[in-house]
Symmetry: C2
Subunit: 255 residues, 2 copies
């Protein structure tokens, strides 16, 4: 079976409290898609965060002394730096405009996943609002999955993604930040290859590969297509979590 | 248009000198696919390397003093270490069994992309053969693309991929190592978002996102499906190269 990724058209702009499950259901109908066992819905982090009310008005943020100092050194809004620090466990590196952190959710990313774009329309001053990542994206994915499964009587996976930079490569790629009902990591160690030469080291970041694929079809500027329907995911669905994808700190060579 | 990725069935085991263009053409026919303008063919590095005769018999490798020393410190075959060093510009990190290098092609990867698995059947001793990456994967992609375009009178892209680990995440993901006729990086900076708030930093690693998607459907153990046909790539095709995806060393915070 081919792997098919379809953007669901007509998802409206999301506001706090919106019911994503209903909106996805309507969008699936509009696209003529009927959910089947094994399908996966991929959601851009932004709509999950907005539905969960994770917007903050920068005007109400009081930067700490540490945030003020760091902000001055990298030429960045100290209120934003304050939020980045609050959302992070550790600062790994800084460069002008960018703070690479270990997010409180455990992954490494730039600016704790907080940005300005696409959060306007929520207050009176466009630049004053920012959006934090969901409180617990695995839980968010699980709730959305339960809603979809109840409505359609099928077993599906749900994946929440964001765009991440990479240490050594240019350009962002989609990465998993939360998931439910699908594997994060697929362990092929011990599988024989074509010559019965046992694969020794292969663990596949399957959820990240799917995140990248979905990110490709969502595009970056188009908040209008934040949900992608996936059919043909090649591995069996199972319970899964973001944790599987996080390299334990003691195995990290690049802190 | 949905993004559709289809594994081409029945690609035979590749041997040095094999004509990949013909084999892909036959496999497309078998799959009932007729190439269209804008389609992309994604090839696993292994078949390109094999067709180009990039196998080496380890028995013929004489490790240098440096390779012997490094091999002892990380418990790895010194002949393999010798080849890894020959294929690399710089060693970034080591841990038992693994050397993270800047490959001579410019990207950072483990063990210079050299491994043992799936290279048997070429000599008498299964474990004695290893496969190096193609000499110049952009050129390889370009030659294959020219062959496909001539045969089918269409404009297509060709992408050669390998599986790479990531600095902070578990599991490998597909990554571009060579390309032709498609963008590596897509620059959306300056594009307006839904609120006309200009995107300031977004460059998308589009070829890497597609590499991850294709890697997902190829699987890891299955050398039988090393070619994936892609329809619905969302960005315009153009000339492109691996270089676009490589972060300049002076901007690299994680050496």
């Amino acid at each position: 079976m081919p792997l098919t990724l379809t953007c669901l058209p007509g998802i409206p702009l999301i506001r706090p409290g919106d019911n994503l499950v209903e909106m996805i259901g309507t969008a699936l109908e509009r696209a003529g898609l009927v959910l089947q066992d094994g399908d996966i819905l991929v959601l851009a982090q932004k709509i999950v965060s907005k539905a969960e009310g994770r917007m903050l008005n920068l005007a109400r943020v009081n930067p700490s002394a540490r945030a003020l100092e760091l902000a001055a050194s990298i030429d960045k809004d100290p209120r934003l730096v304050e939020l980045i620090l609050q959302e992070s466990r550790e600062v790994l590196r800084t460069r002008p405009g960018t703070i690479i952190v270990e997010h409180r959710l455990g992954f490494v990313c730039a600016n704790a996943g907080i940005d300005h774009s696409n959060v306007a329309g929520l207050g009176d001053g466009q630049e004053e609002w920012v959006l934090l990542l969901p409180e617990n994206p695995d839980d968010s994915a699980h709730r959305i999955r339960q809603g979809l499964e109840r409505a359609a009587s099928v077993h599906v996976g749900v994946l929440i993604i964001d765009s991440h930079g990479r240490a050594w490569r240019q350009g962002t790629v989609g990465a998993a930040i939360g998931l439910s009902g699908m594997p994060g990591l697929v362990d092929l160690r011990g599988s024989p290859d074509l010559f019965d030469y046992t694969l020794r080291i292969t663990q596949v970041g399957a959820a990240d590969e799917l995140a990248a694929a979905a990110s490709l079809v969502m595009g970056q500027a188009a908040e209008g297509t934040p949900v992608v329907h996936v059919r043909g995911f090649p591995y069996p669905l199972r319970e899964g979590s973001l944790e599987e994808l996080l390299r334990p700190k003691e195995l990290d060579l690049f802190r």
